[in-house]
């Protein structure tokens, strides 16, 4: 019983990382039919944001608040990845609308550029660039209507760009001069250390459990609840659901699908950033950190079906628990006197990498019976 509980906890912990990482991907894929191969790199940006925030909170001014840096970094990571995602949507993905395979290739290109960017640009200036992007993208939207409609609006816009660039350079050099670790580019992995209140273990029903894992579960839980509330209760959430169901009809009814696309993509990318914070707590952060999770996320999306968050939740916990059951060889300890050939097979798959092999095989078998995933969208179209 205790072993089973242990397995369940571990599985939930693995699954919650998968879930928070796949959540954004699932929403974007459901809405636009677009697979964002740069999703892993948006996670990586989130993880690096945690690192940068941690170092900035070590500065004398912010030192008293050091313990809360992880909470702050969740919000910052959401903003950073969201801004980069919005830029991506505005410049590339929008142009490729209706050709998902091309989008896939283009986003792969973006992911390569982001990886190399992190390697060869000092993080301080990277932060500055993100800040200037943030200003340039959002300042024009909060201008009063009078300015927006004036003939000289393009000059206003131009001056915002200059202002944004200046602020970016300024913050970049400020950070670079005050935090020496961020002033040089490096391809080496960095480590995020959890604040003191998150170290150690807690005991739940007889099993010990690392606090960081618990924190990740909490982050996931909050993200899922927030996104569910947003999609089901807010006006924009309703519009997003409408466009997901029937894009043309929603367009005809006056919903700005363009805005819906931007908002959804921004939120999806932002969630990737939040996932990045979670990932940074688990191990060291490097340019390739996203790649380790991305295929797992795809499997969650494929298994869960499109356009239904419940499917995503079930799929990620299912995969998580299966990973633990197979990968740690727990079936053997639960049922010790199993016949020999079976136990040999289980031992053969009892490593993390072989568990992946097994789970993929199981997913392919599952898709033979339910090709559209756990909770498919109902419809009578020829396609889909």
């Amino acid at each position: 019983m205790e072993l089973l509980l242990d397995s369940l906890f571990n599985g939930v912990a693995i699954g919650s990382v998968l879930l928070v990482a796949a959540l954004g991907l699932a929403i974007v894929f459901g809405l636009m039919g677009v697979i964002n191969l740069a999703h892993g790199e948006l996670m990586m940006l989130g993880a690096y944001t945690t690192y940068v925030t941690q170092l900035i909170f070590k500065l004398p001014i912010l030192k008293p608040f050091y313990n809360s840096y992880i909470i702050v970094s969740i919000f910052l990571a959401f903003i950073v990845s969201g801004v980069v995602g919005i830029l991506l949507e505005k410049t590339i993905i929008r142009k490729l609308y209706g050709s998902p395979l091309e989008t896939l290739l283009a986003t792969w290109g973006v992911s390569l550029i982001l990886q190399q960017f992190v390697r060869s640009v000092p993080l301080a200036y990277g932060t500055g660039l993100v800040i200037s992007l943030l200003i340039a993208l959002f300042l024009p939207t909060i201008f009063p209507l009078k300015i927006k409609e004036s003939i000289n609006f393009k000059y206003y816009k131009f001056s915002t760009w200059i202002f944004a660039a200046l602020t970016g350079v300024l913050t970049g050099s400020l950070i670079s001069s005050s935090v020496s670790k961020l002033s040089r580019a490096s391809a080496r992995n960095v480590d995020v250390t959890a604040p003191s209140w998150m170290r150690g273990q807690v005991e739940i029903i007889g099993t010990t459990f690392p606090k960081t894992r618990l924190m990740i579960i909490v982050i996931t839980l909050i993200s899922v609840i927030a996104i569910t509330l947003f999609l089901n209760q807010s006006a924009w959430g309703m519009r997003i659901r409408a466009v997901t169901q029937n894009r043309q009809m929603s367009d005809c009814l006056g919903i700005s699908t363009e805005k819906v696309d931007i908002i959804t993509f921004g939120i999806g990318s932002g969630l990737a950033g939040v996932a990045g914070v979670a990932v940074s707590l688990l191990g060291s952060v490097g340019p390739n950190v996203g790649g380790n999770y991305i295929v797992g996320c795809f499997m969650v999306v494929v298994l869960g079906g499109v356009g239904n968050l419940l499917g995503t939740v079930f799929a990620s916990f299912g995969i998580g628990i299966m990973t633990d059951l197979i990968g740690a060889g727990r079936l053997l300890s639960i049922w010790p006197d199993m016949p020999l050939p079976l136990s040999n097979t289980i031992n053969f798959f009892a490593t993390t990498s072989m568990a992946r092999v097994m789970i993929f095989a199981l997913i392919v078998i599952f898709l033979q019976f339910k090709p559209t995933g756990l909770f498919p969208q109902k419809g009578r179209m020829v396609e889909n």
């Binding site: 894929f29 039919g33 290109g109 973006v110 993929f360 898709l367 090709p371 396609e383």
Partner: protein, 376 residues
């Protein structure tokens, strides 16, 4: 993609062939061994690119897992070479087995003692694996990005499997071929590499003709039909599953041949052949060269890889930026690829923009080549 492609003049085609054959004959004497070896490797990569062009350019299936079949072909060739030249090692099995305490050749490697079996295994095994994966996926009408994701996931699965199995296939270290013997000669030696270059060049041309034959006629038309409107093909009474499975396993077989040739020329096969980036790179060779133009795939593979090695030698960090930019650029600005652009309306549009050519109001086939009639 436009169907109104310019037919090249016969003289141009003939002179192209003469130049090509002359270059292949001359290359081993003109180029230093290092560059010749690189060229040979890139030519072998162009065979896998041909396969990608068949499934993506003609059938619309974007596979991100061609590395599986590429590596399988490589492993078949490498294992044969290792087994045949293992007579001085204990138990007459390749050296690495002793490191992991394996005393008997694993049963599935037994047939690889025979050269004839290996010759067929190099392309039949990848083709069968591709056919199986393809059939399981296509049967459920899984397509589009779902197909791409599943191929990528299976790539990762194979990578994990090959990486983790030291006792069967030497895990991460892979199988070395350059110190093995073939026909009494060292595989890594200069004279053997020269022979491999010629074999590769001949096989590239053979594969090109084979691919041309595949896409010609009714079969090719159905492939294009599947790409452009699969439900309509199905409603017309064809079963797309069969055609997709066949073309996917053809591409797998080509990838296997390519992998074997690449392995003997690079001297090693390892799970690195099955990494995710490498398989996506194969797609970009085709995209840049021009999808749906078989020649474009070959040229794309050779030129991009050559550019890669040149850029990486000069500025190692910048290649990732260039490659990333290439992905974005070719998809947004040049979706037909370079060769597709030349064969299509690209040059004419460019000349028109500078006022060097008369504007065409109706159809090119009516106004430009009206004495040839339309090319339907």
């Amino acid at each position: 993609m436009s169907f109104s492609k310019i037919k090249f003049d016969k003289k141009i085609v003939l002179s192209f062939w003469i130049i090509l054959i002359a270059l292949i004959i001359a290359a081993p004497t003109l180029l230093p061994v290092f560059r010749l070896n690189l060229l040979g490797r890139y030519l072998s990569l162009s065979i896998v690119a041909l396969g990608v062009d068949l499934i993506w350019g003609y059938t619309g299936l974007l596979s991100l897992g061609q590395g599986i079949f590429f590596a399988l072909g490589g492993y078949c060739a490498a294992m044969y070479l290792q087994i045949t030249s293992s007579s001085e090692f204990p138990n007459n099995i390749p050296e690495f087995f002793a490191l992991y305490g394996v005393e008997k050749l694993p049963f599935f490697w037994e047939p690889f003692r025979s050269p004839i079996f290996t010759f067929f295994a190099i392309w039949i095994i990848p083709a069968l694996v591709a056919g199986l994966i393809g059939f399981l996926v296509f049967r459920n009408r899984i397509k589009g990005v779902y197909f791409s994701i599943l191929t990528q996931a299976s790539l990762l699965v194979f990578f994990n499997f090959f990486n983790g199995q030291q006792k069967l296939i030497n895990g991460t270290n892979g199988l070395k071929t350059d110190v093995t013997q073939l026909f009494g000669q060292m595989v890594g030696s200069e004279s053997m590499q020269r022979i491999f270059f010629w074999i590769t060049a001949i096989l590239v041309i053979a594969a090109w003709f084979f691919a041309k034959w595949v896409v010609k006629g009714r079969f090719g038309n159905i492939l294009i039909g599947i790409r452009d409107d699969e439900p309509r093909v199905r409603f017309t009474g064809y079963n797309p599953v069969i055609f997709k499975t066949i073309i996917f396993s053809i591409a797998g077989g080509l990838a296997g041949i390519s992998g074997a040739l690449y392995t003997v020329q690079s001297g090693i096969v390892s799970p690195q052949f099955m990494t995710v980036p490498f398989s996506i790179e194969m797609v970009i060779w085709v995209a840049v060269g021009g999808r749906g133009t078989l020649l474009g795939a070959i040229l794309g593979a050779v030129f991009i890889n050559y550019a890669k090695s040149l850029v990486s030698e000069a500025l190692p960090a910048s290649w990732m930026f260039i490659q990333g930019g290439l992905f974005i650029l070719v998809v947004t600005a040049l979706p037909e690829g370079v060769l597709g652009w030349i064969q299509g309306d690209g040059p004419r549009n460019l000349l028109q923009r500078f006022g060097l050519k008369r504007k065409i109001e109706t159809y090119p086939s009516l106004e430009v080549n009206n004495n040839e009639g339309n090319n339907g």
